[in-house]
């Protein structure tokens, strides 16, 4: 089986195939979680968000929430979540919400103002009440890595930074893909019996390579990240889904979002300044500290949804669908991060049927591989030796970088950041990327020309993420970083 797409769905399928003994490879044009998976809150839904609008999705979410907490106990943070009702929020919605949770089997607990503030002291003191639900936070990138671990332990190859340029066919059946490496330009042919198109927002484009059509609706959602964690629990607004109604803590930071705007091209999405302002305004109503928090980045993701005629993409079903194109290609679209395992299970069930094999899914029972190596945020370990620190914000050492590259066999600066958190702090890689690329050259893992080009690309990409959140200390920091690259290093003169 050839899996196209290294998001949660694709990685989940790889793990499921590995556990059922089916040989496969995974192809991804960037790093893992490069699309919607990596551009979401990292919220492991309790299902509460959907109980009013989509009861089936809500029930699925809750079931998967329970499973992931069990199999991924070390990569899920059981924060718990609150749905907060602020003055003016509809009481009718509250009733529908509680009834919906009841019907979906989602446990709830109603907290008074005092109880809510005790549970989450940074809440707006005007909160009328809060309903506790079992929301959790999860690191989507780490989730992909852990799923892939099982696949890799079974000896299945992975091709990140490989873009599929062609789907090979023989007698009308899809027999493989042709890929190009996005850094080196090297091309490759990979053959398989079944192709799974799990490319999220790019599903229609990949299907088109095989002459197939998939109706996809794209919905852009934007988020902002703060430089510190503002709440302990997930905070939701108790009202129909709208802009900026979810705040999720993730280790040392908080993420707030989202927005929902229709999008055409997943490669050309941008955060708009109005979105940033709207998210901060709405998040600030639930957690007033959001108004003074230092926002270090804003980013957008594209939700790949089943096409629908409904205008507001929030009303489009978050359910998923598997399409058998009848030529050896399957497409799997829709769904959400929380239900990725279920999607993978159904997909692999279909593959087993096609192969006429019988072996049932084990992904819900077996714990995720590799959790012990990745568990937590081992700050004490990082603090043991400070002399070799390359990224001061996240305490990433030179040896972490070199080891990551050796293990990963790639030398993309993004790969390093995702695996070590290099450049994820307040300066957003302004200081350490120059160093990391210098180290890669010195260790001969990259040619000086490659690293210079990568520094250029990195600075431009980085700026896209921070350009709309530049005020206060963040603007001050950015002016300094700009002075380093354009003033001291003269990069502007040569550009």
């Amino acid at each position: 089986v050839i899996i196209i797409g290294g998001g949660a769905t694709g990685c989940g399928i790889a793990r499921d195939l590995a556990l059922r003994g089916i040989g496969h490879c995974l192809i991804e044009k960037g790093d893992y979680a490069a699309g919607a998976t990596g551009a979401c809150h990292g919220l492991l839904h309790s299902g509460g968000r959907y109980v009013v609008t989509d009861p089936i999705a809500a029930r699925e979410c809750y079931e998967e929430n329970l499973i992931l907490r069990r199999i991924g106990s070390k990569c899920v943070e059981q924060t718990g979540g609150l749905f907060v009702r602020l003055p003016g929020d509809s009481k009718r919605f509250r009733e529908r919400f509680l009834r919906g949770c009841d019907e979906a089997g989602i446990p709830t607990e109603i907290l008074s103002t005092t109880q809510a503030l005790e549970a989450e002291p940074n809440l707006n003191p005007a909160v009328e009440e809060a309903i506790r639900v079992p929301d959790c936070s999860i690191d989507p990138f780490r989730l992909c890595l852990l799923n892939m671990k099982t696949s890799q332990l079974a000896g299945n190859p992975v091709f990140t930074h490989h873009r599929v340029t062609e789907i090979l066919k023989s007698h009308g059946r899809c027999t493989g893909v042709r890929t190009v490496h996005t850094v080196t330009g090297e091309t490759r042919e990979i053959h398989g019996n079944i192709l799974v198109n799990a490319s999220g927002a790019w599903t229609d484009r990949i299907a088109a390579l095989a002459g197939c059509e998939v109706p996809v609706t794209l919905s852009k959602g934007s988020l902002v990240i703060t430089n510190q964690r503002i709440s302990n629990m997930v905070i939701n607004r108790l009202r129909p889904p709208s802009d900026g109604d979810i705040i999720v803590p993730n280790e040392a930071v908080s993420l707030a979002g989202t927005t929902a705007l229709s999008a055409d091209n997943p490669d050309k999405i941008r955060v708009q300044p109005e979105e940033v302002d709207a998210i901060i305004r709405e998040a600030g109503k639930m957690l007033p500290r959001f108004h003074s928090a230092r926002i270090i980045r804003a980013f957008s993701g594209v939700r790949p949804l089943l096409a629908s005629l409904k205008k507001d993409s929030r009303e489009v079903s978050r359910g998923f669908q598997i399409i058998d194109h009848g030529n050896g290609l399957y497409s799997i679209i829709g769904g959400k991060l929380t239900t990725f395992r279920l999607m993978a299970e159904k997909m692999v069930d279909a593959i087993m049927t096609a192969f006429n094999l019988k072996r049932s899914c084990e992904t819900a029972q077996k714990p995720l591989d590799g959790q012990d190596e990745l568990s937590g945020y081992p700050l004490s370990k990082r603090l043991a030796d400070l002399s070799d620190v390359v990224c001061e914000c996240e305490l990433v050492r030179k040896e972490d970088i070199v080891r990551t590259i050796r293990e990963n066999g790639s030398c993309h600066i993004g790969d390093i950041s995702h695996r070590t958190r290099l450049g994820m702090g307040p300066c957003q890689g302004g200081f350490c990327t120059f160093r990391a690329l210098g180290i890669l050259q010195t260790e001969r893992m990259m040619t000086p020309n490659q690293s210079r080009r990568m520094l250029h690309e990195f600075l431009q990409r980085r700026f896209r993420g921070i350009r709309h959140v530049l005020w206060g200390d963040q603007l001050r920091e950015e002016q300094l970083v700009e002075y380093l690259y354009l003033g001291i290093l003269g990069m502007e003169e040569e550009a």
């Binding site: 002399s387 000086p448 210079r452 431009q460 990069m491 003169e493």
Partner: protein, 396 residues
């Protein structure tokens, strides 16, 4: 509350404030400098850029009409530059250059930066690819990677293990005779064919000139330093020299004393208040010179809606709304936000402010666009000079 009285209080200890301090103390005025800490000059290359182009003077003349460098006559530009060169020479930190000619220096990524006045340690920096050199670097140095340079030109490299891996750490070690002797011994043992030697800018802090000369004499050929990312040693040498000069002239420096209040009578500022040593201090003066820098320096702060001047709450020129402050292209170097600042009249008093005894100079001025025009230190030096003179003339 302790109270102290001066003729002039300068707020901000960067290049503009210290230059103004030199002018005022030369004129015998009782001058104090209040600063919240290290200036951005310590982050700089130590070179003085006036304006990009073949000739700094001609390039300055071609700046847009609203640029504050137009407030200074050519005569004053020369006078400011001469004063600077004299102070530096006296501090054994020789600078070279002329306003009529810009030059290029090699950067840490092997590109070139246009500048005007350079310290002695960068005078031999090559201005083209044709000049071969041997690069001496230090093992594990965190902010300097020779391969960025070797990617662009044929350079041979030798690496010395200094036992520390920060620029500051190595510069401090160079101040020890023993370390210097060991280094020179090692250096003498190298076979170097090139006629020129490059070294990241770590050759000592206080004794840079002596160390630099010792290396050149040992190798019997020209040596040049390549400025590194901050903390920058040449920037710190420049700052130290100006600071020591100001003190030697009788100026008082209140270090780490951020201003947190002002006392005003009508249109006159009587004093600034600072918090230090756990108690408030009142520092009074007949005139005040604001040289607090832009955003990085701490003179300006932005919120989502506005840009604020932090000491006197002077009106700030703001280039439209926040969504227009930046362009998408990172390498544009001309973002609208770099025009933000205080606009002043010919005597460097803030426009549209009733205050009569406040003068403004340096990076906090509006319309500077320092990165676009490459005018950072030159702007601070010349407006610091001119604003201080205007201030002194008003007082007399």
């Amino acid at each position: 509350v302790s109270a102290i009285e001066y003729d002039v209080v300068i707020i901000g200890g960067g290049l503009a404030g210290l230059t103004a301090g030199a002018v005022l103390t030369h004129r015998g005025l009782r001058t104090a400098l209040v600063t919240s800490g290290e200036p951005t000059a310590c982050l700089s290359t130590g070179c003085i850029d006036f304006c990009k182009g073949p000739s700094a003077l001609e390039a300055m003349a071609a700046l847009p009409a609203e640029h504050p460098l137009h407030l200074i006559s050519t005569g004053d530009l020369h006078a400011a530059k001469d004063m600077f060169l004299k102070i530096m020479a006296k501090s054994d930190l020789l600078y070279h250059g002329d306003l009529g000619h810009n030059r290029r220096i090699l950067t840490a990524i092997g590109s070139y930066k246009t500048t005007c006045l350079v310290p002695d340690t960068m005078q031999a920096s090559p201005e083209s690819e044709h000049q071969a050199f041997h690069l001496v670097t230090f093992a594990g140095l965190k902010d300097f990677y020779p391969s960025y340079i070797t990617a662009r030109r044929a350079v041979s490299v030798s690496t010395y293990d200094a036992g520390v891996c920060t620029t500051m750490g190595i510069a401090t070690r160079f101040e020890s005779e023993e370390f210097l002797d060991d280094f020179l011994l090692w250096l003498g043992g190298l076979t170097i064919r090139e006629d020129l030697i490059a070294i990241p800018a770590v050759l000592g802090l206080e004794s840079a000139s002596r160390i630099f000369r010792a290396v050149g004499e040992k190798m019997n050929r020209p040596v040049f330093e390549i400025p590194t990312l901050p903390p920058s040693i040449p920037g710190r040498r420049l700052f130290n020299a100006l600071k020591n000069h100001f003190r030697a002239q009788g100026g008082d420096i209140y270090w780490n004393w951020p201003v947190d209040g002002v006392e005003k009578t009508g249109t006159t500022i009587e004093a600034v208040y600072t918090q230090s040593h756990g108690r408030p201090s009142r520092i009074g003066a007949r005139a005040f010179l604001l040289a607090t820098g832009s955003f990085v320096g701490g003179g300006l702060t932005s919120t989502r809606e506005a840009i604020i001047e932090n000491v006197f709450n002077l009106p700030v020129h703001i280039p439209a709304g926040r969504d227009t402050w930046f362009e998408d292209n990172y390498f544009f170097a001309n973002h609208a936000v770099s025009k933000a600042g205080i606009t002043v009249d010919k005597t460097f008093r803030p426009d549209s402010s009733p205050l009569v005894n406040v003068f403004v100079c340096g990076g906090i001025l509006a319309h500077t666009q320092i990165l676009k025009y490459g005018c950072g230190h030159g702007l601070s030096l010349s407006t610091g000079y001119a604003a201080a003179r205007a201030c002194a003339e008003t007082l007399s």
